[in-house]
Amino acid sequence: MTSLPTERSGKKLGLVIDLDVCVGCHACVVSCKEWNTGGYGSALSDQNPYGPDVSGAFLNRIHTFEVVPQGGEVIGEADEARIVHFPKSCLHCDDAPCVAVCPTGASYKRGEDGIVLVEEDKCIGCGLCAWACPYGAREMDLAAGVMKKCTLCVDRIYNETLQEVDRVPSCVRTCPANARHFGDLADPSSAVSVMVAERGGIDLMPEQGTRPVNKYLPPRPRKPLAASAGALLAENTTGATGFFAWLDGMLDRI
């Protein structure tokens, strides 16, 4: 049934992505591609993989944005201007628009944990769900002719043959900067919920009315470049005390 689930457990599994921490290394992109090529459903195909126009299906992509505050022109020169690396995968929306449009029932949202999945044997590859998603979370696998999307590594998180530390989505396990976190966002005491509350986690495109489960932690306020300039460029030694005052005197004398 492609209607959204009417009976939902109290659980909403999802990711919290820390935009302050992500360094844009794309390790999560690679590990996601690797895990999902060997795991759930058909392999994530690439087209023309060794040619000049390589393309392929990815469930997680990193965009990089430049944010320039009012009056700023050049990155780093004005206030908060900065580069933000921006990982993007399925947000497992509460009101997932991709689910209701599916004509075959292949797309569904699970009542028990809120994960949005595609049953590939039912998918006709019409592409309407990808049109319905404002986030671009769904990509057609051109080799298999079915829609692919983030499964929240449903084949890892409940997999008791894996060690407990590995029972998180592949991207979370891989991230070397600890920018990605996995947990139950419906439980206010979970680590991810606490993080969202403390850092003011945000929804992407709230105006689209999708009520995403995944949250993004905005970059922390940053010290302007000019504020650190004094310390970095200090040339005189007035006010030095102790060992440094002695060293200063000695060096003057030599």
């Binding site: 965009h63 990089t64 628009p97 449009v101 006709i124 590859g125």
Partner: protein, 308 residues
């Protein structure tokens, strides 16, 4: 949005077929005339060809039957169900006319109802997508319905002039439908051009609180499924010119031919038939360009992540 050829052909042809089915279903044409019989067959051919064309863009067309299952929630599924449900009355009605020289009111009127609901469902597939703001308006199904009726009634008038019935009344219907359709379409386009963007790079990234957001680097250097499907921009610079072209052909020229045909119908019926043929041709040019623009001009919210 990527204007897939198969979808443009499907929506244009099936619209034409359902529009003509509605005119035939109202019993405005003489069931014993050859032209009416041909029109009935043409209806089924247009609808059938359109439906076959619509399966061409599927990744797994062999599973297309599954698309009939989710009519409770999906407009695409509803469209498929309605297309199938409408086919038997249309076939029955065509049989009555082609074989028995009779107008059968029951299947004919059921066919009209089914045709209208099917075209409405087609329009709602697009209108239901909030992610494509240009489409997300009740004007979208209104345009689909009225353009289908315009095309169908022009073809109906042509069949009338070819001996099927009262050309003057049918041409008058075509004129009214064409004017209504392009009025709705003009309103649709005005809305699209005037609307402020619902989503922006700032809301898409949530970084608007810091400042203006601009894409610095795409995830990949090459194109991907999303940029090909949702980021179609080819010839968008010609959009205004193409919109004028579709309006000139679909509305202005078609109306001129229809008026001339009405003037000619009493004195020179064969000239009227030729003029209605020309009206059909200019309507077709108008509708194909209109449908191409419908996709090519529509912007998808995901492109806020891709710097467009």
């Amino acid at each position: 949005m990527q204007p897939a050829f198969s979808i443009i052909v499907f929506t244009a042809l099936s619209g034409l077929g359902y529009g003509l089915a509605a005119i035939l279903g109202l019993g405005l044409l003489d069931p014993s005339a050859i032209a009416t019989k041909v029109a009935h067959v043409a209806t089924l051919v247009f609808i059938g060809a359109g439906l076959i064309s619509s399966t061409l863009h599927l990744g797994n067309p062999q599973r297309a039957w599954r698309a009939l299952s989710q009519w409770r929630s999906s407009w695409l599924s509803r469209e498929g169900v309605m297309a199938l449900v409408t086919f038997p009355p249309l076939l029955w009605s065509a049989w009555g006319t082609v074989v028995e020289d009779r107008y059968l009111p029951l299947p004919a009127l059921l066919g009209v109802l089914g045709a209208a609901i099917t075209v409405y469902c087609t329009g709602m597939i697009y209108a239901s997508l909030k992610s494509v703001q240009a489409w997300h308006t009740p004007l979208t199904p209104a345009c689909f319905l009225l353009l289908a009726l315009a095309g169908g009634s022009i073809l109906g008038a042509l069949a009338g002039a070819a001996g099927g019935g009262n050309t003057l009344v049918l041409t008058l219907c075509a004129l009214a439908a064409t004017l209504a359709a392009w009025t709705a379409k003009t309103a649709w386009r005005r809305r699209m051009l005037a609307m402020p963007s619902l989503s922006t790079p700032e809301t898409a990234t949530g970084l608007g609180t810091i400042g203006r957001v601009r894409l610095f680097e795409r995830p990949h250097m090459t194109e991907n499924y999303l940029t090909r499907e949702m980021g179609f921009k080819i010839a968008r610079k010609h959009a205004a010119k193409l919109a004028r072209l579709s309006f000139m052909a679909g509305a202005a020229l078609t109306v001129a031919f229809l008026l001339l045909a009405m003037a000619a119908v009493a004195g020179a019926p064969s000239a009227a038939a030729v003029l209605l043929g020309l009206a059909t041709a200019s309507h077709l040019v108008g509708i194909f360009v209109e449908r191409w623009l419908f996709f090519a001009e529509a912007r998808h919210a995901v492109m806020n992540y891709y710097g467009a």
